[in-house]
Amino acid sequence: MLTHLNLILVKKILTLAVVLTLLHTSGYAQRGCISVFSGQVLDEQDNPLIGAAIILNPTNKGMVSDIEGNFELKEICAGSYQVTVQFLGYQEQVFEISINGSAEKIIRLQPDVQTLHEILVEEKVAHVETAQNYAVLSGEKLAETAGKTLGESLKEVSGVNTIQAGPGIFKPVIHGVHSQRVLILNHGIRQEGQQWGSEHAPEIDPFIASNIVVVKDASSIKYGTDALGGVVIVNPAELPITEGIGGTMNLIGQSNGRSGTVSGLLEGGLKNHKGWGWRMQGTGKRSGDFHTPDYSLTNTGIKELNFSGAVGYHDEQKGFEVFVSHFRTDLGILRGVAISNLDDLIAAMEREPPQSTEDFSYDIGEPRQKVSHNLVKVSAHKQNDNGDWRVQYGFQNNNRQEFDIRRGVLAGVPSIDLQLNTHTVELEWETPHEAINGLCIGVNGMYQNNDNIFGTQRIPFIPNYRNFSGGVFGVAKFVRNDWVFDVGGRYDYRFYNAKGFDFKNASYNESLTFGNVSVTTGATKQIDPNQSLAINLSSSWRPPHVAELYSLGTHQSAAAIEYGLLLNDSTNEVMDINDVPFSIERALKGVTTYKRQWRNFQLELSGFANYIFNYIYLKPTGITQNLRGTYPYFRYTQTDAFFIGADLMMVWNLTSQIKVTPQVSLIRASDVTNNEKLVFIPSNKFDLSIRFEEPDQYKIKRFFIESKVKYVARQGRAPRVVTPRQIKEAAEQNIDLLANDNTIFDFMEAPDGYALLNLSTGFSINREKVRYDIRVAAENVLNTSYREYTNRFRYYADDLGRNFLISLKCNF
C-alpha cells in the first residue's frame, strides 16, 4: 500500500518537475516584475508588530504585517523604492531600498505615545481603517489555503466557522451568524448572490485575493446593512504602475477528490505610460468524488472555471480602474441525499454508506448546481487638499440553477432557475489623509432584479422581485491623547416589489418598504507600547430577505417544507406585512480585543456579545401530508437570540526557529424569548500548531515544517432531538409531534467531538528571476472518521478522510 502511494507520489513529482522546467523557461524568457520584498516589523524589544502598514512608493503597493509581524510584497519591478512603515502608536519610518530579485529587511519601530497616527494604507487595505476587531488572512497563511473554496479558507481565521453542505459548499459564519447576516465585499462591491439557502456558497474565486480581511464587529458601516455578524473583505493587490510584466502560477493537486487546480496571474505596466497597469487572472479546478475514510461520497465532484481582468491608471493624486470577473461552478450534491418524504429521510439517516454509493468518478449527475457570477466594476478616486473622493459602480449578474432527480421529460430541467442582476453605486468623501482627525461621508444605492427563468415546471421557491435600496452614512475618527475614537451612523431604505405564485399557483404582487438607522462607536487605547485595547459597540439592522418572507417549497436534501414569514399559518395564503407580527431584525453587538506582547510571547484575546432582536429563523411547526407522503414543515419565525463568545490566539516563540500557536474559539448561543437553544451553532474549537522555520539555509529559503492539531468539541448546547422516526410513528397514531411542541429541534443528535492531525512542510527556491514555493501537506493524517455538527450532510454521511496535497507556486 505504502509503495503504491509512493509510486503515485513519485509520478506526481515527476509531472511537476516537467511543468516546473517549462515554467522556468518561460519565466527566464521574460524580464518581468518578479522581485519580492519581505521582512518583519518589530518593536524595540524585538516583539513582532501585528497589522503594521508597509507601503512601497512609488508603486502604491502595500500590505499589513501578519500576526508574526511578517510581510511580503510580491511582483515588484527591480529598482529603487521608498518604503513607509506605519503602525498606530509608533513613529512612522521612511527609508530607501534597492530591490533586485528579493530583498529582506527587519524594520524596528520606535514607540510614539504622543502623536498617534491613523492606520493609513492605500486603497486595498483602506477598508480596515475604522475597524478595531479584525483579522487578516494574507501572505503565507493565505497561500496555504490555496485549492480550497473561499468559505473553507476563512476557517483559518479565528472566530470564523462555516456552515457546510457536503464537501464543496462552505458558507462563512462569523461569531455564530451567517448568510444574510454576513456581508461579503469583493473588490469593494457588496457580493449579491443567492445567499438565502444554506447550500448556497459565496461565488468568489479565492485566488483573486491578495488578502482577506474579516471584520468581526459592525464598524464597517460604510458598506450598508446586513453586517450583523461581520464583514468579509476580499481585497485584490494594487495594479502595477510601472513598466514590466510579472505574475504567479499555482498548481495544486489533492488526493481526496483527485482534484487538480491551476491558477495563473499575469500583470504589468505599460512602457512610456507610467501609471497604467493591467492584470489577467484565471483559475480552473476539477474534482471528482470526495471520500470519507470508509467510502466514496458519490456525486460530489466540482468543476470550476473563473477568470478576471483589470486595467487602470493610478498616480499619487488619482486613480481609475475597470475590473471584470467571471465565476462559474458546476457541483454535484451527494447522491444519497436525494430524498422525498419523511420515510426517505428515515431510511437515509439510518443507512451508511449512503444509497447509490459507487466507486470514484469525475461524473456530476443530479442532484447538482450550476452557478455563475459576473461582475463589472468601474471605480475612480481623486485626492487633493480638500480630501479624497471615491466613486464606484458595480454590476453583478448571478445565475443559479439547481437540478433535482426528476421524472420523464423533466429529467435535466432545473427545478430552481434564478437570475439576479444587481447595480450598485457608491460615492464617498474623506478628509485628507494627513489629518489626525478624520471624517468620511457617503451615499450608496442599489437596484436589484431577481427573476425566475421560466420553464422549471415547478412553483418557484422564491418570487421574482425588485429591490431598490439607498443609504447615507458618516464615519468620524478623532484622537485624544492615546485614545482613538470613532463613531459612525447610517440610514438605509429598502423597497421590495415581489411577484410570485402561492401554493395554489395563483399569482400575488406585493410591495414593501423598510427604513432604519445603524450606529457604531468604538475606541482604541494604546495602553503602552506592548498593550492595546479596542472596544466597539454597534447597533445595526437588516431588512428581511425576500426568501425569509415568501419561501415556499422543499429544499434539495432537506425533506422538509419551508414557509416564509408572510404565509398564513392555516391557509398558506400570502398576507400583507401589516397583518403579521413582523419586526425589523436588529443586532446590538459589542466586541473588545486586548493585545499584549512579551518578549517571546504574544496574545490576542477578544470577547463578543451579540443580542439580536427579532432574529429570523426556521422554526419547526408541524407535519403535513400530500400524496407523496408525510413532511415536517418549518416556518420562518422571529425570536430574540443572544450570542456570546471569545477568541483567543497566542504565539509563543520557543526559540528563534520554533513557534507554538494555540488558538481557541468559544461560542454560546441561545433563544432568549423561548429560553431554548439554537440549531447549527458552531461548537468550540481548539487548535494547536507547532512550526519549525529555517528562513535561509544554502539555497533553500523559507523552509518550514508544521504540525497542527484541530480539536472540535461536541456541541453540548444542541437543541432537543426529535428523530424522523419518532415523528412518523407519532403521526401514525394521529399525533402531530411538532404542533404539540414546536420548540426548536434537530433530527439527529450532535456528533461527537473530533481531533484532526494535519502536517505540512514547504520551502522556496530562487532560480534566476523566478521564485518557487513548494508545499506538501497531509490533512486528517490519521484518517479519522468524524462528522461535523455544522455540516448539513452529517445526517447522511461521514466527513472527509485523509487528503494529501501538493502545491507549487511560482512567482515571476
Binding site: 436525494a338 430524498i339 422525498s340 418524504n341 420515510d343 426517505d344 431510511a347 444509497q355 447509490s356 432527480i405 426528476r406 421524472r407 420523464g408 421529460v409 423533466l410 447595480h423 437596484y447 432584479n449 427573476d451 421560466f454 420553464g455 422549471t456 415546471q457 415547478r458 412553483i459 418557484p460 418570487p463 421574482n464 425588485r466 431598490f468 431604505y493 423597497f495 416589489n497 411577484k499 410570485g500 405564485f501 401554493f503 395554489k504 399557483n505 399569482s507 410591495s511 418598504t513 427604513g515 415556499l552 417549497g553 422543499t554 417544507i561 414557509y563 392555516s570 391557509t571 398558506n572 408541524g622 403535513t624 401530508q625 400530500n626 400524496l627 407523496r628 407522503g629 408525510t630 414543515y633
Partner: protein, 204 residues
C-alpha cells in the same frame, strides 16, 4: 405625514428610478405548469366475474400547503371475490390534453425506474397472503405488468379478498428508482413519489 411620504411619493420616486434603470424589462413572472404534482390518486378494483366496481380516491387540496390529504371513505370489497386493481395518478392542475395530466402513463413509460409497493393489515386478502412487500420486497404481491427488463411495475395488480369479513389499512407506495431498480430493490430504495393509505373492509 412621514408615513404618507414613505408610502406614496417616495415609493413613486423609487419606482420611477427602478424603471429607469431596468429599462423596458418586463418582470411579470409567467405561470409554470406543475406536472410533478400528483393531486389525485384513484384505485379501481374491478371484480373478475363482473359486478360492482369499487373505487377509492385520495386528493390533495393544497399541494405543498399545510392541509392534509382527503381520502373518500374506505375500500369495501366482497369476501372471496377476485379483483384487478388499476391505479390512476392525475395532476388536475395540468390540462387534460397535456401529457403531464396522466402521471400513470409517464410512470409506465419509465417502468424501469418506477415500482409500486403495497402493504396491508388485518389479513384482508387470501391471495396474496401476508402483509405486503413494503417491509420486505420478497413478500408476495400479484403484479400483472412488467417493465422492459421483466421487472414488475404495479400499475395493474390482482387481489382476492379474504373469505371472511376483515378490516385493516391498505397502503400504496410509488418509488422512483433511476438506475436503482433491480429484482431485489425494495420500498426503501429511491425517492418516494406517492405514499397513501386507505381503510379497507372485506364484507360478506
Amino acid at each position: 405625514m412621514t408615513q404618507y411620504f414613505k408610502s406614496s411619493k417616495f415609493q413613486f420616486l423609487v419606482l420611477m428610478l427602478g424603471l429607469l434603470i431596468a429599462g423596458c424589462e418586463s418582470d411579470d413572472p409567467q405561470k409554470e405548469d406543475t406536472p410533478e404534482l400528483i393531486t389525485k390518486a384513484t384505485l379501481t378494483f374491478t371484480p373478475a366475474g363482473g359486478g360492482t366496481v369499487v373505487v377509492a380516491t385520495a386528493t390533495d387540496p393544497d399541494g405543498e400547503g399545510v392541509k392534509d390529504i382527503e381520502v373518500d371513505g374506505a375500500i369495501n370489497l366482497t369476501a372471496g371475490v377476485s379483483y384487478t386493481l388499476t391505479l390512476s395518478l392525475i395532476n388536475e392542475l395540468a390540462e387534460v390534453s397535456s401529457p403531464e395530466y396522466d402521471i400513470t402513463e409517464e410512470v409506465e413509460e419509465e417502468g424501469d425506474e418506477h415500482m409500486f409497493f403495497y402493504a396491508w393489515t388485518g389479513d384482508v386478502f387470501s391471495d396474496p397472503s401476508g402483509n405486503g412487500n413494503i417491509d420486505d420486497r420478497t413478500d408476495a404481491v400479484n403484479y400483472e405488468d412488467e417493465d422492459l427488463t421483466g421487472e414488475p411495475i404495479g400499475i395493474v395488480t390482482r387481489w382476492t379478498a379474504a373469505s371472511t369479513s376483515a378490516s385493516g389499512i391498505f397502503r400504496v407506495v410509488l418509488k422512483h428508482q433511476p438506475e436503482l431498480k433491480t429484482s431485489t430493490s425494495g420500498a426503501d430504495t429511491g425517492e418516494t413519489d406517492l405514499d397513501i393509505e386507505f381503510e379497507i373492509n372485506v364484507v360478506n
